[in-house]
């Protein structure tokens, strides 16, 4: 009976358990892993994928998917850079316009999915190509550089000790958690993801809710893109490409279901994101061949998702009603 309870605890908190295991493992392999500097780096690197993964969580909650976030990052970052460099716009309005660009891509997704009734997978695969295509058209695939006024932001500290990108990430997480847990909108989102037909019968405007998640995802992708350019100062043609995979993986590692209705921003997606960054940092510390790293990364994500699918059936089995009198 005791082992049963232990097994159940591990299964129900598999994300946290995995997190701790990976943490200890890399600590043992490379003791330098346990330094404050390293943790700050991990958090810094986690923030942009984290911001995008929060948006992805909203979409996943409705049972949808957004494959266009990587390209949205690129397009909005390009627009931002061009406005500053060529139109001479100050940084703040340029960033606002670039966020608007993200929102627009999300709106196109939303329109196609809720009005034209296209499948999210195909729709966002198409907008992925279109958004990157626009970006390449604008830049002629030449890299865009950002002035110091942008890159210096990455060294600024909020309240004197929180790096800006981590602060933005934390604010996004806080806001998203409140919206999901405490507002009518958030709870209805969970309802839509659980049972669309019942949600409609309960008078929930499901199309409007679903549409909004793609717009949130687009907006946060643009914000994630901006946070990245403050760190690297330069955007080339491959910017953001493949990041949708990391964002989806972070949300799913954090317990979000691809079928909708299940998932949290905090702790779920945050843990998932930090876990991915931790593995990446750990692989560097452990001196793993740089070409092998992505394979190991993907293998770890695969096993985490596999554990997740197994655990659901296992939990059900453990909680199965006992007919026989003990």
């Amino acid at each position: 009976m005791e082992t049963n309870r232990l097994v159940k605890f591990v299964l129900k908190n598999s994300t946290a358990v995995l997190f701790v295991l990976i943490f200890i493992m890399f600590g043992l392999i490379a003791p330098r892993f346990f330094t404050a500097k390293n943790f700050q780096n991990i958090m810094s690197n986690a923030s942009y994928i984290g911001i995008i993964a929060v948006g992805m969580t909203f979409v996943l909650l409705t049972g949808g998917i957004d494959l266009s976030v990587g390209s949205t990052m690129y397009l909005s970052a390009v627009v931002c850079g061009k406005l500053i460099n060529e139109a001479g716009l100050p940084v703040f309005p340029a960033v606002m316009v670039s966020l608007l660009v993200g929102l627009m891509v999300g709106a196109v997704n939303a329109f196609a999915i809720t009005r034209l009734r296209l499948v999210p997978f195909i729709t966002t695969l198409i907008t992925q190509t279109i958004a990157r295509g626009f970006g390449l058209f604008i830049t002629r695939s030449v890299a865009v550089n950002y002035p110091d006024s942008v890159t210096l932001m990455s060294t600024s500290k909020v309240l004197g000790f929180i790096p800006l990108q981590i602060f933005i990430f934390l604010m996004v997480v806080l806001l998203a958690s409140i919206v999901l847990n405490r507002t009518r909108y958030g709870r209805q989102l969970y309802a839509v993801g659980n049972d669309l037909e019942s949600a409609k019968k309960a008078g929930i405007k499901s199309d409007r809710l679903i549409a909004s998640t793609y717009m949130i995802s687009g907006l946060l992708a643009a914000l994630g893109g901006f946070v990245t350019i403050t760190q690297i100062g330069r955007v080339n043609a491959g910017f953001g490409s493949g990041d949708e995979f990391d964002a989806i993986a972070a949300a799913v590692l954090g317990g979000a279901s691809l079928f909708g209705g299940i998932g949290t921003v905090f702790p779920g997606t945050v843990l998932g994101t930090v876990m991915i960054e931790m593995i990446q940092a750990g692989l560097v510390f452990a001196n793993i061949d740089i070409y092998i790293q992505p394979i190991i990364m993907a293998a770890i994500i695969f096993s985490a998702v596999f554990i997740d699918s197994v655990r659901t059936t296992q939990i059900k089995k453990l909680e199965r009603r006992n007919i026989l009198k003990v």
């Binding site: 009518r184 969970y190 309802a191 309960a202 008078g203 929930i204 199965r320 009603r321 007919i323």
Partner: protein, 516 residues
């Protein structure tokens, strides 16, 4: 003179020129429970959809407390104080009880979008208490039993202060105790002045619960009035439109010597213990027990869907491999599951595809494996007509457009194509009307006389006693006793199922096991 809360007046509705409802009029009085009965397809759902604003009538009017009532959407019905409690629950399993109850109108803190959680929990707690449901409003619905979920659905309906409540087959997934509790609550709501419409196929329940009754047939009101004037046989006659003297066909026992199935000492931790059971050619063996007594679980093990730890299952003298449904099908087993919608049918697919589903390998060419659709259609058509399946187009008509009874015939037909030697039927008559039930019984009788062995799981003791050669009584995962047809006694079977009539030696066995 009682106050009329709601009235249908000369309602007519046609679908593609066919009358679904023809000049229907009746009234619902305040503080009364009105029973609405009729065969599947008699027009009950159409009538309710009109009340709920889902459909608009072609002719006729409705009146709510004397005022004309013209709902254009489900929202209008809700605003008018009419709430529906359907057979299929509309709950969100990932949300809490309180959130489910207030999903359509969350109480918010002043004008902010933030939910006033305290207010939401308090109002839910009050509603739950009024329904004698002792659960926390913060518990997730996925952790509730079907009965508790049903009550949460009712709490949801009551949260809008509805005046008229409509219950559509609410007891199908409830245990006997939960059903009793539900009826007590419905009576109390009635006494508090709510008006209730109750739809059910279980006529004895209707008789016990309602004050007035309306009987529908082919879209017309066949009769109505105080329930005292409508004994069950009169309800049935009005519903079916012909005299049914017997609800069950005559059984001519046709048991042969050959043993088709024999199970020895089958056990699985926490599920079933030491099950010994046999079925002969042409024999109908009933399995009676309360819900959750292990009958369905055992049937699933037998068919190979779930594994079992100990014991052996022998079919036609050869041991049957564990946990392998394909092999079970090859060996002549067939399994009609208890939920035809979820487990028995592809609802959005045509009848033919459903009937052919299991037999596709038999109708495939030797090398190419292409399906010989002509031969399949011919055979499916034969089976459909032998089952008297009412449909327009075998190839194109979707299963979901059929009535419950005809859907069940499709499930049966699917297995008949395999000519099974052992047919397991789990609650095959649940949720279908009297006429369709009779036809299912006739099919069983015919199959048995042709030599098929049938394992018949049911919670309705009357049908088991009428149809079975033997009844095996289950309780808490064990077979308590077997009765032969000549020893059938409703009282004794019930007492054993409730463990009220255990012999001394059995009592001791239970104690010994308890001490292990």
């Amino acid at each position: 003179m009682a106050e009329v809360v709601f009235a249908y007046k000369n309602i007519t509705k046609r679908f593609f020129g066919v009358h679904a409802l023809n000049n229907v009029s009746f009234e619902l009085e305040r503080g009364k429970i009105l029973g609405l009965v009729g065969e599947n397809g008699a027009g009950k759902s159409t009538l309710m959809n009109i009340l709920g604003g889902v459909l608009q009538p072609d002719e006729g009017e409705m009146f709510l407390s004397g005022e004309p009532y013209v709902p254009e959407s489900p929202l209008d019905a809700t605003c008018a104080g009419i709430e529906f409690i359907h057979q299929e629950l509309n709950l969100f399993t990932n949300l809490s009880v309180a959130e489910n109850i207030s999903i359509s109108s969350f109480p918010c803190i002043r004008r902010t979008p933030f939910i006033h959680r305290r207010a939401m929990q308090d109002s839910s707690r009050k509603l739950l208490q009024s329904l004698n449901l002792d659960i926390s409003p913060n518990i997730l619905v996925e952790n509730l039993s079907p009965g508790e979920r049903q009550l949460v659905e009712i709490a949801k309906a009551l949260s809008t202060n509805a005046d008229i409540l409509l219950f559509d087959e609410p007891t199908t997934s409830l245990t006997a105790n939960e059903t009793e509790n539900l009826f007590a609550i419905m009576r109390r709501l009635r006494d508090e002045g709510k008006s209730i419409i109750y739809i059910s196929h279980i006529l004895s329940d209707v008789q016990e619960l309602v004050d007035d009754i309306v009987v529908l047939r082919d879209g017309q009101v066949m009769g109505g009035g105080p329930i005292a004037d409508f004994p069950i046989h009169r309800m049935i006659n009005l519903m079916v439109g012909r005299e049914i003297d017997n609800v069950f066909p005559d059984r001519i026992p046709s048991i042969k010597d050959r043993v088709i199935l024999s199970c020895e000492h089958v056990s699985e931790t926490g599920m079933v213990r030491d099950i010994n059971l046999s079925v002969r050619e042409g024999e109908i063996v009933g399995m009676f027990g309360l819900m959750g007594s292990g009958r369905t679980e055992f049937a699933r093990m037998l068919f190979g869907i779930d594994p079992y730890k100990e014991g052996s299952i022998v079919v036609d003298g050869e041991p049957l491999p564990k946990h392998n449904p394909q092999e079970s099908i090859k060996r002549g087993l067939a399994f009609i599951t208890e939920n035809r919608r979820e487990e028995g049918l592809l609802m959005d697919y045509p009848i033919l595809e459903n009937i052919g589903l299991v037999s596709l390998p038999d109708y495939s060419a030797a090398v190419t494996r292409l399906v010989d659709s002509k031969r399949l259609f011919k055979r499916a058509d034969e089976v459909a007509s032998s089952l008297r399946l009412k449909c327009n187009d075998l190839k194109n008509q979707k299963v979901k457009s059929l009535s419950g009874g005809n859907q069940q015939k499709v499930v049966i037909g699917k297995w008949l194509l395999k000519d099974p030697s052992l047919l397991i039927m789990d609650e095959p008559t649940r949720g279908i009307d009297v006429g369709a039930k009779y036809e299912v019984y006739l099919i069983m009788e015919r199959l048995a006389s042709e030599g098929t062995g049938i394992l018949f799981i049911s919670s309705e003791i009357e049908e088991l006693m009428a149809m079975c050669d033997r009844i095996v009584v289950w309780s808490q995962g064990e077979v308590m006793r077997e009765f032969r047809r000549e020893d059938f006694s409703q009282e004794r079977i019930m007492r054993i199922a409730f463990r009220q009539d255990i012999d001394y030696d059995m009592e001791e066995k239970v104690v010994v096991n308890g001490n292990e």
